[in-house]
């Protein structure tokens, strides 16, 4: 049952993606996710997410969540 912090964050962002899947295509969903993460996630969680995408490719992320993470790193 125990999750690492990174595993928990992957679950959390994927959950945001699937709950907003009907907003439009992946890019629209990714905008929503990026906005949400920006507004509600603390710096520490954003860093862990970014490290995961940069260093490990973000393979367990939902496609829209991966896109959102990339948008966030670009802005970052």
């Amino acid at each position: 049952m125990h999750q690492t912090e990174q595993e928990h964050l992957i679950d959390m962002i994927n959950q945001i993606a699937v709950n907003n899947i009907s907003l439009g295509d992946d890019s629209v969903v990714a905008d929503m996710i990026a906005g949400h993460v920006k507004k509600f996630w603390p710096r520490r969680m954003k860093v862990i997410l970014n490290d995961y995408v940069i260093n490990e490719g973000g393979e367990h992320l939902h496609p829209a969540a991966l896109l959102a993470s990339k948008k966030l790193s670009k802005e970052g």
Partner: protein
């Protein structure tokens, strides 16, 4: 001519005999030569009382309908025969009335003589001495003798019922005026009391002639309040005598926020009496607020600050200064070593607005980060998110009174008669008047058993299927053309509506398509949707059964969508009404407890808002959100988060997945707990700062209807400091200066920084009694109903949100075939730290697992068996109760007792938007066992160990003296 036409301006300390009439038509009449003008429908008794002509009365009181049984209030009316009862006679245009003359005096004396002939004459030793209407009336009518004597048949030896821990029923003193029976029916709505027998044999009976405790009586105190004699007396009055002064304050239990008169003898609280002038409760109460205040003076109160280096050591009692400087130096050292973001704090939804504001200010300004959160995280954070997205403001839209104009009441995932009892009573009153009721809940809640309930429907949905249900309701509204097109066109954003309309109309959202998911027949859902949409005024009330899910935020938005689509926003009788759990959950959110928002819901990244706080507080503030509670736990386990200041919250008991929480707390280098008791969290603490109860401080609470109410100090703080003073000391010790002389100065600071509080001050609160925010230049007297003209959204328009149904990952399977859902019970409050230390234990001294007879039979379980409950997260043991309130496949428990370990089995699953834990759905297996779980054994061992550490601290301190 004297005029009276505003029923709200009545003096709450006076009993006008009958309720106010709300008619706008006035009639003029003359009483004892005084001309007066009253609303049509006002009784002659009330019309007289309003001009201070006080007609004798016994069976009449102004929170009950007129009854006309005692006849003491007889009057003479010009042109009418006889002596009609003034309580049941409506005032009419041109009436001429005499309330006192020789004939009436004789009549009244005769009536009193009969009463007194069967009443004990022990007035001097009677508990009601000094507060007895019977005695007052004997005096008022000039009773001087009882010609009948006292020897005949009488009730003087009638037995006492002392079964209720808080009040005594002494039948020998009863005058059978029926006020208690009527209060139980009209005010409380339980119908537990009746008059049994006829004529001389008439007597008040509880239930089916049971004791009060064994009957369905809920101990709300309405009968005690209504009794004009000593028949129903508080035991505290019997023990202590009548109070000598009183102070109006606000209850510290649930989110209803009832006003009470704390009745005192010196600094001793004798009783709490619901205040008739209270705008949230109008003189009603429940067993918690009315009676369960003994915890405040319980021996377990922490009275001295304490410190220790490690949680395996005994506590050391120290002075305030030493404790504060110990805490401050630890915090500073940890930050120096691990960085600015390595510490944080949790504000309390039980503390005042002013205290909550100060804690988040301490964190943002003195800690220099935004690592602040509050227990709203685990209850109503999805309300904040969902309502902000759709309606533009993170708050319920109505007053409680609004329900009295509702025609259809939809209750989702809430159990008001247990969790918000005083509002539950008001809801029942409206249901008796004929409003229809729809309940969407896995359990058959008591509201569905309201006596004299009219139309009602129960949609017994499966835990976790809320969003599918609300989507289906909206689907019916839209596809059957039941939407309010005018409202949508005028008040809602058109693009978002078009998208939502297309989404919700999809066949996958139809009641037929989701029948498999919700378990509720499509026909029942269609009927409910039609009832809701067609009623002139429909209102939605919801609780934690909506928010505490992985889709809590989606569900809140789904509720707002339904209200918008049917035009049920912006007037009396309608609205979206979150029923808040704790007394100040609304306030703690308003005060900027969340890591992303400054007070008044202003985002930390907003440079203008942040700039104003920076200027006022004299520091620069972080523009990134801080850690939420679950993120703090994760970061603590990862070794990155090292210190936490917790004011008045018990995260170790209340938060899900206890093992995870305990691991996080054990990982901290410094845990500072400020509480009135050694709660479960304090067992992991290094610094224990004594908290003050609501009776020991000044401040304000904000209830579920955004009502800001004053909390007034009635006794000194046991450890010498109110909670806000402790936070001030800690800030100063950390080198961030704070200086306030009184909480009113903190409120002035809040008003200067949070736009929706701009018009709030203690002076104005004292003048108005209470204020509902927003209260500012635009709404100087506050805002009872929100969104009347527009929404605080772009272009003032409401926003329809797409609400995709996503099933929770927490599903039943062969290994965990049952779904556990959790809830509350009337007599206990939240983690139980307060109510477990009162006589409320008489009703609920352990948490029980309720399960359906079918599930019980399959497992060979009978009532009272010990059951092992296992989930993916953990294992605990509770006793069984077989109950048809449950559906097959669903089991239920409460979490009021720490040793139950209800949260040992709840999981880390949480709401997608806010991380609010999914307490309401846990897949479990249940089996008969013979001993407690390993966690429970450890819990008991640690409980004894930590209590020993506490006892040792007192012993050391005593030997030092």
């Amino acid at each position: 001519m004297l005029q009276y036409y505003d029923p709200n301006k009545a003096d709450p300390s006076k009993d006008y005999g009958t309720p106010a009439s709300l008619s706008e038509k006035l009639v003029t009449l003359e009483i004892d030569g005084v001309e007066t003008c009253v609303p049509e429908g006002t009784s002659v008794m009330r019309a007289a009382a309003l001009v201070d002509i006080n007609i004798p009365k016994l069976c009449a009181t102004d929170n009950l309908e007129a009854y006309g049984s005692c006849r003491l209030c007889a009057v003479q009316i010009e042109g009418r025969r006889g002596t009609p009862a003034s309580c049941t006679t409506p005032a009419e245009q041109g009436m001429k009335i005499w309330t006192q003359n020789e004939k009436l005096a004789k009549l009244r004396r005769n009536i009193m003589e009969l009463y007194i002939s069967d009443h004990p004459l022990d007035c001097l030793t009677c508990p009601a001495n000094g507060d007895c209407e019977l005695q007052d009336m004997a005096g008022a009518v000039g009773l001087r003798e009882v010609r009948y004597g006292f020897e005949g048949e009488n009730h003087l030896d009638a037995p006492k019922d002392t079964s209720n821990p808080y009040f005594t029923f002494d039948a020998s003193k009863c005058i059978v005026c029926s006020r208690c029976v009527r209060a139980c029916e009209e005010v409380q709505g339980t119908f537990a009391l009746t008059i049994d027998g006829r004529g001389f044999d008439s007597k008040v009976a509880a239930g089916q002639n049971e004791s009060f405790l064994d009957s369905e009586c809920v101990s709300c105190g309405a009968c005690v309040q209504a009794c004009p004699t000593a028949t129903l007396s508080e035991n505290s009055i019997i023990d202590l005598g009548q109070p000598e002064h009183s102070v109006v304050t606000t209850c510290a239990y649930c989110g209803v926020g009832c006003s009470f008169r704390a009745e005192m003898k010196g600094d001793q609280l004798v009783r709490m009496v619901p205040d008739k002038g209270g705008d949230a409760n109008h003189g009603h109460s429940c067993v918690k607020g009315r009676f369960a205040f003994g915890y405040a003076t319980h021996n377990d109160r922490i009275k001295t600050p304490m410190i220790r280096d490690s949680i395996d050591q005994p506590w050391k009692e120290v002075g305030w200064e030493e404790a504060i400087s110990f805490a401050a130096s630890r915090l500073k050292n940890i930050q120096a070593e691990h960085g600015r973001e390595s510490i944080g704090g949790i504000t309390s939804s039980r503390c005042t607005n002013e205290e909550t504001y100060l804690v988040q200010k301490l964190i943002r300004a003195a800690f220099g980060n935004n690592n602040t959160d509050t227990c709203a995280r685990v209850c109503h954070s999805p309300t904040g998110y969902g309502l902000k997205q759709t309606l533009g403001e993170s708050a319920g839209t109505q007053t409680f009174d609004s329900i009295m104009k509702s025609d259809c009441v939809l209750v989702i995932g809430a159990n008001p008669t247990d969790a918000h009892p005083v509002f539950g009573s008001m809801m029942r009153r409206r249901l008796r008047e004929g409003a229809s009721l729809i309940v969407a809940d896995p359990r058959e809640i008591d509201l569905l058993k309201t006596p004299h309930l009219g139309d009602s429907a129960h949609l017994p949905l499966r835990p976790g299927s809320n969003v599918a249900m609300v989507n289906a309701l909206s689907h019916v509204v839209i596809t059957e053309g039941l939407e309010d097109t005018d409202f949508i066109a005028k008040r809602c954003e058109s693009d978002a509506y078009a998208k939502w309309r297309a989404f919700i109309s999809e066949p996958r959202n139809s009641p037929e398509a989701v029948e498999e998911i919700t378990g509720v027949s499509a026909a029942a859902v269609r009927e409910a949707a039609r009832t809701f949409a067609k009623a002139p005024n429909s209102a939605i009330y919801y609780g934690l059964g909506v928010t505490e899910h992985s889709q809590g935020s989606t569900m809140v938005m789904g509720i707002a969508n339904l209200a918008l689509a049917t035009g049920n926003i912006g007037r009396d009788g309608v609205g979206v009404n979150p029923l808040r759990g704790q007394n100040n959950v609304q306030g703690s959110c308003d005060m900027g407890s969340f890591p992303h928002e400054l007070p008044g819901y202003q985002h930390v990244s907003d440079p203008i808002a942040r700039g104003r706080f920076e200027a006022a507080w004299g520091v620069s503030l972080d523009d990134e959100p801080g850690l939420r509670i679950p993120n703090m736990f994760d970061a603590a386990i990862a070794g990155q988060f090292r210190a936490l200041y917790v004011q008045g919250e018990d995260i170790a008991q209340s938060d899900p997945n206890t093992q995870h929480v305990e691991a996080a707390l054990k990982a901290l280098d410094c845990l500072i707990v400020q509480d009135i008791f050694l709660n479960e969290t304090a067992k992991f603490a290094h610094v224990l700062l004594p908290g003050s109860s609501f009776l020991e401080k000044n401040g304000t609470f904000t209830n579920a209807e955004r009502r800001i109410n004053r909390v007034r100090k009635v006794m000194p703080a046991v450890a010498g400091k109110e909670d806000w003073e402790v936070t001030v000391d800690l800030a100063n010790a950390l080198g961030y200066p704070m200086s306030y002389n009184h909480p009113s100065e903190i409120m002035d600071e809040i008003a200067s920084l949070a736009p929706s509080f701009a018009g709030v001050s203690y002076e104005k609160l004292d003048k108005h009694g209470s204020l509902q925010w927003p209260c500012n230049d635009q709404f100087p007297d506050g805002s009872p109903i929100m969104h009347m003209e527009s929404f605080p959204m772009p272009e003032g328009k409401g926003h329809f949100a797409i609400t995709e149904f996503v099933p929770t990952t927490e599903r039943a399977n062969r290994k965990f075939p049952l779904l556990l859902t959790t809830g509350r019970i009337l007599s206990q409050y939240n983690v139980g730290a307060q109510t477990r230390r009162t006589e409320n234990q008489a009703w609920h001294d352990e948490d029980i697992l309720e399960l359906h007879p079918h599930d019980a039979e399959e497992r060979g379980i009978s009532d009272g068996d010990w059951l092992g409950i296992t989930s993916r997260a953990g294992h605990t043991v509770l006793r069984a109760r077989v109950s048809v309130r449950m559906q097959p496949g669903v089991v239920y428990t409460t979490f009021h007792h720490p040793g139950s370990g209800a949260n040992v089995i709840t999981t880390n699953n949480s709401d997608w938007a806010t991380n609010c834990p999914e307490y309401k759905v846990t897949a479990v297996q249940v089996e008969k066992v013979s001993q407690p779980s390993e966690w429970q054994k450890d819990f008991v061992a640690n409980h004894h160990r930590q209590n020993k550490f506490l006892a040792e601290a007192s012993a050391v301190a005593a030997s030092d003296e």
